[in-house]
């Protein structure tokens, strides 16, 4: 990876959007890359639509403005599709990855994003099955790795162990890893 990759995350307060961005930053750190992870701070309310950004590069990043034209957009909550223009500013050849049970074609119709690549994965379903709770950030990272090819899943899993290792029980860490792996396998492109 030589040029900078800019990523925008959409989710709702409490869904782990900020944590997911940080996890990706930690992964970049672990693989010797430069990165930025920053949320779009407003009033912080559980359930309110929020955005967060990640920049990744092999070279030092000095730019400190918002991301206008992301290469990748991740949507953690499909109920945002109808209310937030998630494809706004997304590069024509960009990647849109949505947590939903819908097929990519349906997402294209709703979002009006007819170029680039669209990926979908039912991360909520996977999260509930594997973790018993609808926390979609780790499965979405697995789908992200597969969709973008920027990281391999094993590198991400290593980071999840490192990140969650001291904070939660080994069972929860393993459940997160199972969810991440499944999402990487089940993500579909269209």
């Amino acid at each position: 990876m030589t040029d900078m990759v800019e990523i925008r995350w959409h989710g709702r307060g409490g869904q782990g959007v900020v944590t997911a961005g940080k996890l990706l930053a930690e992964t970049a750190l672990g693989t010797g890359q430069y990165f930025q992870a920053f949320p779009d701070y407003g009033p912080e309310r559980m359930g309110a639509p929020i955005r967060s950004y990640t920049r990744l590069s092999s070279r030092p990043i000095t730019i400190h403005s918002q991301v206008e034209n992301p290469d990748v957009v991740l949507v953690l909550d499909s109920t945002l599709l109808g209310t937030v223009s998630v494809a706004e500013g997304l590069k024509e050849d960009g990647i849109l990855l949505v947590n939903t049970g819908m097929q990519p074609q349906e997402v294209r119709e709703i979002t009006g994003f007819h170029t680039g690549k669209v990926f979908t994965v039912d991360a909520s379903h996977i999260a509930i099955e594997e973790m018993g709770r609808e926390i979609t950030n780790t499965p979405m990272l697995g789908a992200f790795a597969r969709a973008t090819g920027l990281f391999d899943t094993d590198t991400l899993i290593e980071q999840v162990r490192h990140w969650f290792g001291s904070k939660v029980s080994p069972e929860i860490v393993e459940a997160n890893i199972r969810a991440l792996r499944r999402a990487a396998e089940e993500v579909v492109e269209g």
Binding site: F35, I61, I63, H64
Partner: protein
């Protein structure tokens, strides 16, 4: 061995505070500084530092506790933002005039109103005549590095002045980046042990702090503050040289970026300087001779060095993230001071001010590019159409 960590600017500052291990920290939480103090409070609770952490009911009390502890001979730190700094106001001046070497992490935020929690420089610009040394930081790394240097600058026997280390609220305070964290032992060795010369607790040599000081000696004490500021100009550079040697950095009074052969330059502080570097690189690819000067030391203002560094230009723009209301042209404070510095040294060139980013309004590369393009035109014609432009205001 140093190590790289993924840290937000506030966490980087809190890490420096942990490594410095001050005797006393007195602070009150305020957005966007809060995570500095919150992170540091965890270090205190976890026993990672020996600091006496004074939880107070307001910033006025925070700065008061800092002054008291500093007069008693403690190494003292605090952190705040915007309205928190405003509430400290009375004691901010007293800290400087009492010659308390307090170090403050200042996370720049708009001063209300209307209520706004996002970045601009109206908070720090208000304290520019208070007697504090003021350093700017482009990113978390610089905030971390500046905080470590600030301790040695503040406590230098020729200085004994408080230092504020600024970084941009949310943009870098909450933006996670790669930060090189040095060994604890190396940081502690660099800042050294604080041996106060004028401790109130030194009962063998009784002192008085903060007495009435009327027309008999007040004026002389103010004159001494001037002398301390003059010394600070030298000491800041000495400390930077020592820091650069120890940690392999390149700090000075300011950072020139592709400035040497430039014909047109922008002067801008903190995080926007980083964005401007991207613009400079892009315009250089077009063959345009543009450069950047990023101020690091704002107080004491290095007028002579700035004039010298900019003297060869055909035009210069200053970008100000605050307004000095009612000042000449309603311009920003950085522009006004730099214009005076150049004029008094006989450096004549067209200059313009661009106010930007108030209340956290984003500043995009193409907007900075428009400033460069304006100035390239000015360099050709020698004429400034507008002295002050409020960039991207609706």
């Amino acid at each position: 061995m140093s190590k790289f960590e993924a840290l937000a600017g506030n966490e980087a500052v809190a890490t420096a505070m942990r490594q410095i291990n001050p005797d006393v920290v007195a602070a009150y939480p305020i957005t966007p500084q809060t995570s500095t103090v919150q992170t540091f409070a965890n270090y205190v609770a976890d026993g990672l530092v020996d600091t006496e952490f004074v939880t107070v009911e307001s910033e006025h009390s925070a700065m008061s506790a800092c002054v008291g502890a500093s007069a008693a001979g403690a190494r003292v730190m605090t952190a705040t933002s915007a309205n928190g700094l405003a509430l400290m106001w009375e004691i901010v001046y007293i800290a400087a005039s009492t010659r308390c070497p307090i170090v403050m992490g200042l996370v720049n935020r708009a001063l209300s109103g209307p209520i706004n929690i996002h970045c601009d420089h109206s908070d720090v610009m208000g304290m520019r005549d208070s007697g504090w040394i003021i350093l700017f930081s482009e990113n978390g790394q610089e905030a971390y590095d500046n905080l470590i240097q600030a301790v040695r600058i503040a406590e230098h026997p020729d200085v004994l002045l408080p230092v504020a280390v600024c970084q941009d609220g949310f943009i870098t305070s909450h933006g996670m980046e790669r930060v090189e964290i040095y060994e604890d032992a190396d940081v502690r060795a660099f800042v050294g042990e604080y041996r106060p010369q004028w401790s109130l607790l030194d009962l063998e040599h009784p002192k008085t702090y903060g007495p009435l000081d009327f027309y008999d000696y007040y004026y002389e004490h103010k004159r001494q503050q001037v002398e301390a500021m003059q010394h600070a100009h030298r000491v800041i550079q000495e400390v930077a040289e020592a820091f650069n040697r120890t940690f392999d950095r390149d700090y000075g009074l300011f950072e020139p970026y592709r400035l040497e052969d430039a014909e047109v330059a922008v002067v801008v502080a903190n995080s926007t300087a980083g964005t401007a570097k991207v613009v400079v690189d892009r315009l250089r690819e077009e063959g345009l001779k543009v450069g950047l000067l990023k101020p690091r030391v704002f107080r004491p203002f290095p007028a002579e060095e700035l004039a010298e560094a900019l003297a060869h230009l055909k035009a210069v723009a200053v970008m100000d993230r605050s307004i000095s209301f009612g000042a000449m042209g309603n311009a920003g404070p950085l522009f006004l001071e730099l214009a005076a510095a150049l004029a008094l040294r006989g450096v004549r060139m067209p200059m313009a001010d661009y106010v930007y980013g108030l209340g956290g309004r984003d500043i995009l590369p193409r907007e900075i590019e428009s400033v460069y393009r304006d100035m390239l035109r000015v360099a050709e014609t020698g004429q400034v159409e507008r002295m002050v432009t409020y960039l991207s205001v609706r």
